[in-house]
Amino acid sequence: MAHHELTFPITDPAEILKLRAGDEVTVQGHIIGIRDRTQIRIFDQGVEPPMDLGGAFLLHTAPNVRKVAEGKYEKICIGTTTSARMVRFTEGLGAQYGVRAICGKGGFPDVAIEPMQRLGMVYFAIVGGAAALETTQIEEIEEVLWEELMPECLWKFRVQDFGPLIVGIDAHGNSLYHDVQARAHDKLKELYARL
């Protein structure tokens, strides 16, 4: 599997198209933290996000932080949450706001494959639970918007060598999650026959 280094937000969509499911990626630049309530506000309550999400890398997170000044937070422990709960926002994030990458753990179900292919998006799998490591790769919390949703705010992080990330779903219709599930269901039939 190939290894890629990408800087976000990206300006050239071709950067996303060269990624294939199973590749490993390290990320530099800026990433945006987002979670259930943040996306419920955007899509179900129709509130425009006060941040440009064009070419963005979104991270499914709700960090442990310490408030140091008005609107300023220091990291304590930042990790990644389960993505599947938020799959229904994928199309809107890509079509309306130009988001290019969504990173979380546990993957998206198959319903995400078609919109991600059509809109040129990828899903990155991070190692869930590895928050102590992730925290060292987040250099600074640069912005916190919608503080009243704490900890499910819109977070802007500056990162260095963020990863390892595995391309779980690429922009070409491939999903490791789909493949693993298909093989596991075949295997189940074999295991049941042995019981």
Partner: protein, 299 residues
């Protein structure tokens, strides 16, 4: 023996709870470290090895930097074994556990996860109506108190499953349901973790037992040989599913399968599955009747 007041014991239990909650979040037990090391040695897929090595690196960083292993500070679940002669009433023990949970959350500080189930508004420093959760066991002819803290993350808790199998489904029905649950859970509960299975009792009790099962030291076996045999068998079968670390495929899907059981009604055959992620955090303390506290891992 010096005079010990209930106020001193209140303070001892509160301080123990505050310590256990943070300790559990930062320093995972040795049996779990060993199981994760064995998993890394056994895995053969490139992605799986990369993930298990990253987990190992993460645990080392948490140790070095005294940071939380995982950001999800969870719901604080305590298991209490209360001796008949322990001088503090369980009502006061509960209040002290609650106060300790809140204190740890504010002082560290830790992320507050507790919300009202309908409004979704935060209810305070990891406490709320009926939070934290406490499992109670009462021990005759004893004057001590054992407290175990298990901060339970939501990624794995969301992967909980209950099926009211019927007697005609037999043990095969139990096995099929556990296998199908773990395949359906895929990468969501942060595999490889501990599969807790509760069988027998009633619907609610089966799930309670499944939660007890995930909180056992990794690889311990049920004292009933028939149940222990089922633990071994399911552990092997689950690792044949190929779900692998983080659900991205591989040899290691679970670190262990623990089962707790209860006798049941002749027409019931309930099976509950509660998953615990690889960061299977737990920490224990023994509090003596004189208020002295001994922190250990053996429970």
């Amino acid at each position: 023996m010096s005079t010990i007041t209930t106020t001193d014991l209140d303070a001892a239990v509160e301080a123990a709870a505050a310590h256990l909650y943070v300790w559990a979040l930062k320093d995972i037990p040795q049996d779990l470290r060993d199981a994760l090391g064995a998993a890394r040695d056994r895995e053969t897929s490139t992605t799986g090895i990369r993930i298990l090595e990253t987990i190992h690196r993460n645990v080392s960083i948490a140790d070095d930097q005294k940071n939380l292993v995982c950001q999800d500070t969870g719901i604080a679940v305590y298991t209490c074994r209360v001796g008949e002669h322990f001088p503090l009433h369980p009502a006061r023990i509960y209040a002290a556990l609650r106060a300790g949970t809140a204190r740890a959350t504010v002082e560290h500080p830790l992320r507050s996860n507790a919300v009202h189930v309908l409004t979704r508004e935060n209810t305070g420093p990891n406490i709320g109506y009926r939070l934290p959760i406490v499992h109670w066991e009462f021990i005759p002819d004893w004057d001590g108190l054992d407290v175990k803290c298990v901060p339970k993350g939501s990624g794995s808790e969301n992967m909980s499953f209950l099926k009211m199998c019927v007697p005609a489904d037999g043990v095969t029905g139990i096995k099929k349901f556990v296998l199908e649950s773990i395949v359906d859970a895929g990468g969501k509960p942060c595999p490889p973790g501990i599969v807790g299975v509760g069988i027998g009792g009633s619907a609610d009790y089966a799930m309670y037992l499944a939660k007890e099962a995930i909180a056992r030291p990794v690889g311990t076996r049920n004292p009933d040989p028939l149940v222990a045999q089922l633990e071994d068998e399911l552990y092997g079968l689950l690792n044949e599913t190929g779900i692998g670390p983080m659900g991205l495929g591989g040899d290691v899907t679970v670190l262990q399968c623990h089962i707790e059981h209860a006798d049941t009604h002749m027409t019931l055959n309930p099976v509950a599955v509660n998953y615990q992620c690889w960061a299977a955090r737990r920490a224990s303390a023994h509090i003596a009747a004189d208020g002295s506290v001994d922190f250990d891992r053996e429970f």
